[in-house]
């Protein structure tokens, strides 16, 4: 997600917070990053098992960023946004 700040066509990067199990970490993104790329980068921030495909990002209102092809801009993610990384579904039986 590194950007060349010398290229005026390159979107500016900004920092968001990703929360996983109470731990908050910073992630640098750009508005054109996809939800899928952001999710992968967020998962890499934390000690998570190989079952990565069960995780998703949620905004503070509880809405899942379910369209992984969507850009962060279109998903409403802005500078200083807080996203929650968690299992899409939690259940037992």
């Amino acid at each position: 997600m590194a950007v060349d700040k010398g290229d005026p066509k390159t979107p500016k990067d900004f920092v968001i917070d990703v929360i996983y199990n109470g731990i908050s970490k910073k992630l640098t993104v750009t508005k054109t990053d996809t939800v899928a790329a952001t999710l992968a980068a967020a998962i890499d921030l934390f000690p998570i098992t190989e079952q990565r495909h069960l995780l998703a990002l949620f905004d503070e209102g509880g809405t899942e960023l379910a369209n992984e092809a969507q850009t962060l801009k279109d998903a409403g993610v802005k500078k200083k946004s807080r996203l929650v990384l968690r299992q899409s579904v939690v259940k037992g039986g």
Binding site: I48, R86, G92
Partner: protein
């Protein structure tokens, strides 16, 4: 190894029994301070739906809970949930849909909807890096 605040096991049983009423499954989560992540000091009883054969946590509650953990500098280190009969083995659902998919996360299964006082019957499962679970009662210092 997880250590448990005195009285937490009893509070856990109280929650599981009052919610499940020996008819439905229930779950609570044990919480620790981020500065002392192996000592369970408190529990939370999530908003969930349940039946005799399972439970599912409310999605909105989950997101709010994760944010509250961050704001309180806490972390979830274990889940304790009931099963209807004597079996305390993890189901496939238990394996895949635990609260925290991180190595070392602990899942305790309590038989008979928690009606029995015998804590020795509780089975302790510990999540491994590859996503599998092993049974290891020594993961908790009772």
């Amino acid at each position: 190894m997880i250590s448990v605040e005195p009285g937490l096991v009893e509070r856990t049983l109280d929650e599981l029994r009052s919610c499940g009423a020996t008819k439905q499954e229930c779950v609570v989560y044990w919480l620790a301070a981020q500065s002392s992540p192996t000592h369970a000091v408190d529990l939370v009883h999530p908003l969930h739906v349940s039946a005799a054969g399972g439970y599912e946590i409310d999605s909105g509650w989950l997101t709010s809970f994760m944010i509250s953990l961050a704001e309180d500098d806490r972390t979830a280190i274990a889940q304790v949930h009931t099963h209807p009969g004597a079996s305390t083995e993890h189901s496939a659902t238990d394996d895949r849909f635990a609260l925290i998919p991180s190595p070392g996360y602990v899942s305790v299964v309590v038989p008979w909807f928690g009606a029995d006082d015998e804590v020795a019957a509780w089975r302790v499962h510990v999540l491994q890096r590859d996503g599998s679970w092993i049974v290891d009662r020594s993961a908790i210092s009772w």
